[in-house]
Amino acid sequence: MLGTKSAAELCVLLIDELYGQLPSRVFAALLARGRSNVGKLVQQSSLNPKQVRHGLVVLIQQNLIFYHTDPDAPHSLYEANPSAAYNLVRVGKILDMVENQYGRTAKLLVHDVILLGQIEIAELVRHYKHEHCAQKKDSDGEVEAGHNGINGDDHTNPNHINGNGTASSATEDEYAEPEDEEVYDILAQLIASGFIESVTASTFQSPEDLRTGVEQEVMKDFPNGLRGAKQTNEFDTMVMDELKSIHGERTALKRKLQDRLDYEPNIKRRKLTNCGWANGFVATGGGSLLDEEFDTMIRLNHDKCIVELRNQKLAEHVEDIIGDTTAQVYGALLRALSKKISRCRVSGILSNEEADFLEPRVSTDDVFEHLSPSVDVSFGIGTASEDTIDIRYAEKIRRDPPQLQDPSFQDGLQEGDVVVASDDEYDETGELTNGAAVNGSRRGSKPGQNGTKVKGEDGGPLSSQRLRQMRQHLLILAESKQQFVRHCGAGQWTVDFGPLLQRVRFIELDTMIEESFGRQGLRLTRILREKGKIDDKTLPTMALMRKPDVHVKMAEMEMAGFLDVQEVPRDNNRAANRTMFFWFFDEERTLRRILDSTYKSMVRCLERLEVERRRRKNVLSVTERRDVQGKEKDMLRSDVYSEWLEFLEVEKKLLGQIGRMDDLVAILRDY
């Protein structure tokens, strides 16, 4: 999945940043050589075997490599797991997200899990208590400093970039120490929702190894080899079953907890925030389940985290395109929906199993349940008189998902929309059945008439009015050009992530083109994307631009690699004036290039950070001292102190920027 030079450099730098030089050198050697044993790594990295082994241990502990031990071969083979290495950049975001969803204890737990790589449950709890309950301040400070850095989300607000640095220190004092029981409870929740997964022996095998192993095992049942299509099919299903059972093994604990806990973190959380920590969940007691599982190894599950990060990003896009209130409603919908989603992209191996997860749906009530009571849904939509609203369009139901089109036809998505036969279908009732009978008779005035002006007018119960207003936001989302949700049945909503993300990718692409080449550049590329290849002469007329301007712009964009040109000679001479030039825009290639540029820019930011560190070496060497840490202001000379602050500013900026670029990578690659 990675494979470019910049991506490899980035992984190495990230490991260097978090775990130091030794593991990063071993990892670099692994990336350069592919699968290798210790001996090969020694040759490649000019380290001695002992050092290499040390490095490998760190990497295994942090889940950054796969290994494979063949009983017949003398040496174990190691293989880099670049996507795991890349995920290091998201650590801060994940912590932020977990804190927002499950509270501070959960964040600290996840933090410890990340720090320790993989750990037994009992050990984790012990560690947790040791670290955060006893001598919270001291050890915590140092440990977090390492992670803080990467923590930037795209808030430019400085308080936010270092999420748990300055901002959290205030809350830390108020933060009551949780009881043992609660820690287990929260851990159980995290496992049940999939943020933390259990580790089995198979987790350390690369997917290919796993498959090969299973295939070899299954092959033993076919001593004569595979003959004909029937046997091949049989073989495939057997392999698939076997893989499924391995996957089932991995998620066994999760499912067990899910069943028993009824998996309602949200309701519980609400209870928590209202009643405070002490008496929050006496009854639920999911933690007791973990009693039998003390020796289970656990680690962070990035797949699930990415799903949650995707929700955030999509909600941000809604905020940008439609508005704030609608984004909150969308956030609620995504939260409800993502309970049923364990990963963003369906992996090839498990496609059958997850097929039923492909189109999870949520009901309006579900969304309502997840909507925070503090969101006032009556804002954010204008009012219009009744006769300008056509309920048939507003409530249109699309049962079938749009086809994810080949990227080269992308703009077809906008026109085609694949509105199939169900075009005329719409939700006639506007879901009044679950509103209230009280206002059932006034159906005509429902949609649209929901600004604040209508408030209280029809005297129904407030919650049903609120529900209706929230529905309006959902309908707007469904109607939007980007089709953030699909109204897939009366009271049922779903999100077609594939096509939606494709559109989001193009939004990012457009942003980038507009930023680099201005509105006119954007105009020209969008024309090309819509119309395909266009010859030199028609373009200016369509774009209403002067010919020379067009040529300058086009040449500029071609130099930057955004456009391509095809020459079609009209005769054999191939003279320039007898040749037609067709411009075109290769979307897929451009997206790939942008992805690589992003990796490269991230690498540059990290390199720059290293340079800045070297530049202020004398300051940093002082602040690194144990006796100085935490009391920099008192211990340092004022000019040194201000220089240190300056450096922190620079570090914040660079790491924050890396976080923003990671958002882009996630959109282009992971979501």
């Binding site: 932020d96 927002n100 509270g103 795209d154 607000n157 308080n159 925030t273 209202n274 909600a315 941000e316 905020e319 940008d320 439609i322 508005g323 704030d324 609608t326 984004a327 009571p373 503090s374 006032d376 954010g380 939509i381 204008g382 219009a384 300008t388 609203i389 056509d390 309920i391 369009y393 649209g448 929901n450 604040t452 209280g456 407030l462 919650s463 707007i476 469904a478 109607e479 930023e515 680099s516 509105r519 954007l522 969008r526 819509e530 209403l544 631009m545 540029s597 992003t598 490269k600 820019s601 540059r604 390199e607 720059r608 340079v611 800045e612 920027q657 976080g659 923003r660 990671d662 882009l664």
Partner: protein, 371 residues
Amino acid sequence: MDEQTSLLKTQLYAACEDALTRDPDRVFTQNELMGLDVVQDAKMLLQLIIPLQKEKLFAPVQFEGGTAWRLRSEAEAAKYKLLTSHDQVLVYDIIDTAGSEGAWQQDIKRRVNLQDNALRKALKELETKRLIAQFTTVENISKKMWIKANIKPSARTTGGPWYTDQYLDEAFIMVLQGVVMSLIKDRGSYLSHGDRQSGSMSPVLPKKGVINGATSEAALKSKKRSADAMSKEDVVSVPPPKKVWKTVRLPLPAGYVDYPTTEAITAGIKESGVAKGQPLKQEHVQELIDVLVWDNCVEEVKMGDRIGYRAVRITKQNPSLSVRPDSEDFWEPRGNGLTTVPCGRCPVFELCEEGGPVWAGGCEYFDQWLA
């Protein structure tokens, strides 16, 4: 030529003229001429056509593989009588058939195969007789083009309403785009005044609302966090916009059917009186709208089988109607990770390499950015 032929000839011409009143651009093929019920016999028809052609009342044209004839009015045909030399006739013929598209001097030269001098002389004579005139086309300003003096160059050669004196009138287009944009904004969104936002809260809410810019910021900064501050929704709320407009435009409810269509916009432009000297047809307005769509300022909305337009990112747009799409504060610009890092706009990005002439440590763009 006997009397009968000449009579038939006049009849044929009259019949053609008659047919032309229904379809002025029509050309006649041989079969169609036979079908006019003047002559039944092909040989006879030929005898009629030859003199008509000589009198320049019929002009032969190539049409769908065969020859066809275009009718020329008697007044036009009379002009040929003014021509004194054979060259002039040939040249004028070409320019005449070219019609409103005009003929390029090089083309004329190639087709009549005349010496440069002779051609120039013929053109000069025709010009002094006020039969032809020179003009330029927007498609290629340097070409010498000739057209009959009494007709105007076609829209294609003048470039339609967007051109003034062969130059694209960008200022005019920009003003019109502004008008279109304001029409779309005005009719396709709801203008909400700021006081409504921060003011009353729905009675449903027991808690302090944390919704809009100022309030939420205050809530975040306050030391004591409310229960809401713990809530997940904070994840979703993005930093408050840098520029806060007093009023804001809001999207209209789903199913709204009054988004302006092309017709409505055309009418709106007419009303506004911006393009008085240059009446705009619907297709021209459509061109303007298309450009706005490509610029990502406007999007199509399907309202049944009609297509309306609404502004994109309406809440991020400047609510004022007079702001033009090219101005700075048209809307809050969008950005992403790559546009804000110096590398995203670095001219030597490709050369940048650790240990190379350009590298992150010695990068002046980073210096500026981090300063």
